[in-house]
């Protein structure tokens, strides 16, 4: 299954041993298989069902979103709901802000992390270990512990309600530096030495030889970072409170507060607008995402 989550563990999986205990018959196993599917179908309905419900409701009329008993499919498909959402609130601006914020943060994270990871793995300079462990210490401090003074620092810089504020403090990534350090530590030195013989300097060598070869790691990290940045509500929430710089997440909260409770079809359309980009990125890149999460999670 090409698009399925594949945990690269094939090597460890051998075909199951032939049943040793004849007691456990074919029928018993069949019951187990069916029971497992039943449990998993219920689990899938609970975990993924809300998204299906969201999309279907987003295409209903406002009265059929409230009708009892509820119907699964819309009577008429109201694609115009999406236009209404864009008309009711500046979701175009919100989208643009989210994209600028997420893309710029991601690029910054990838570039600075790759540079730092490379230096920590391959360059010798005094204090290398010390600096690395101090930076690693930041992982122990939740962002929520530093946000009060940070907001006042950013206010002093006039970075609240600005792209600078949304992007620049987000850029340093310890997780990213760690990921790239692990990668470069297992990177064959010979490849670099070939370039060194040509007399290329370190930066030159990094750009022309090392960076292109680390595309796999950079890609996996970039995808994770993009999703993280897109979803990073709390940070955006404390930085921005004007429409001009609101992201999709903030705009969604704003939109919700402006709607009357009965307009669930429009609310679900707005919700779909916020969820869909991440959902698409996830479905396309799920293998890299899962691998990245496991690398970060299991260190």
């Amino acid at each position: 299954m090409a698009t399925a989550l594949e945990l690269r563990s094939g090597r460890l999986r051998r075909p199951p041993a032939a049943p040793v205990r004849p007691r456990r018959g074919r029928r018993e196993r069949r019951v187990v298989v069916v029971a497992r599917h039943v449990v998993l179908i219920i689990a899938t309905a609970l975990f993924f069902g809300p998204f299906v419900w969201m999309i279907l409701t987003s295409l209903k009329s406002s009265s059929s979103a409230l009708v009892y008993p509820p119907t699964l499919l819309p009577h008429h498909w109201h694609f115009g709901n999406y236009l209404d959402v864009f008309r009711a609130a500046p979701f175009g601006t919100f989208y643009l802000n989210s994209i600028i914020q997420a893309v710029a943060s991601t690029i910054g994270q990838v570039v600075t992390s790759a540079l730092a990871g490379y230096a920590f793995a391959r360059l010798r300079f005094p204090g290398r270990q010390l600096i690395f462990f101090i930076l690693l210490g930041a992982l122990l401090v939740p962002f929520q512990v530093v946000f009060v003074p940070l907001v006042h620092l950013l206010a002093a810089l006039h970075w609240l309600n600005s792209y600078e504020g949304l992007i620049i403090p987000n850029i340093p990534s310890i997780f990213g530096a760690f990921l790239f350090r692990q990668f470069f530590m297992s990177f064959p030195a010979e490849l670099e030495d070939a370039a060194a013989v040509d007399g290329a300097g370190i930066l030159r060598r990094f750009i022309s030889v090392v960076a292109p070869l680390s595309r796999g790691t950079a890609g996996a990290f970039a995808i994770l970072a993009f999703i993280y940045n897109w979803n990073n509500f709390f940070y955006q929430f404390i930085i921005v409170n004007t429409n001009r710089y609101m992201t999709v997440q903030l705009g969604l909260v704003l939109f919700q507060s402006q709607q009357t409770a009965s307009e669930f079809n429009l609310l679900m359309a707005a919700s779909t607008i916020a969820v869909i980009p991440v959902l698409i990125v996830f479905l396309v890149f799920q293998r890299q995402i899962v691998r990245g999460i496991m690398l970060g999670g299991l260190k």
């Binding site: 809300p50 009892y68 391959r122 360059l123 939740p142 512990v145 620092l153 997440q249 959902l279 496991m294």
Partner: protein, 303 residues
Amino acid sequence: MEDKRSGGGVSRREEIIAGYAFVAPTAVLLSLFYFVPLIETFYYSFTKWDPASVTPAHYVGLANYRQLGGSVGFLPAVLHTLVYLAFTVPISVAVGLGLAMLLNRPFRGSGIYRTLVFTPYIAPIVGSALVFSYILSPLGGIANDLLSAFGIHPINFLAENPWAMIWLIIFSIWQVAGFNMVIYLAALASVPEVYYEAAEMDGARFFARFRHITWPLIWPSTLFLLVIGVVNSIQVFTQVYALTGGGPIDSTWTVIYWIYQEDFVYFNGGLATAGSVVLFLVGMILTLLQLRFLGRRRVEMMS
């Protein structure tokens, strides 16, 4: 640490300069936007500080910390956070493990199940919370439609006690279980098959195999998930803000919510940062306790 790189072609001096230059963007930005505010958090927690005025903060010793105990809302916020944590963490880890056990061996369709169950973890919380508030709405929400099929009157789940907290917990479990599953799937895949084969020869049944082989071998992952589960739970904000807004009254107020309110609404910067410091210390203590008591168990079992 052994250095694999041979220095050919580059002078020692150039290497040192490049080393600092490559690390600088991360180190400088992190210092400015993380380490400096961290130190400031500790500093301001000992001061009376109004972040909205130009009056400089002045030292008041431990007054803020003494005030925390008596302050309206802080202790309830701590209590709500602990209740939230006590249910969310163990249940989401158990659900993740259950899903991973069901999906460990590949079979037709297992990939689809994995993908769909994992989706809530990567979806934006604000969007998911909005869907939940529709499902739970007393007006046309399917949860209440189901109840009325059994003749039960609609319940305003997100505005009634204790339903708001219960649904906040369920929502958070729903959101994070897929992540726990992925971590457990990796752990389960690394348990050598020969162990199970040997156990099967001995006639060990499923629960015996699970207890004596699987559980001890995946314990490091369990410990990891418990530790990060606790760290994430004590700083929960977005789920609360998007789903219940802290209500009804203040029944789902959590610590971060309280800190946010003190600083951004009441401008008690000193009191807010004292709350941050307490949160930080509680997080550290809970993490160390878990590593100390739960980490040792693993060693005993593995030896």
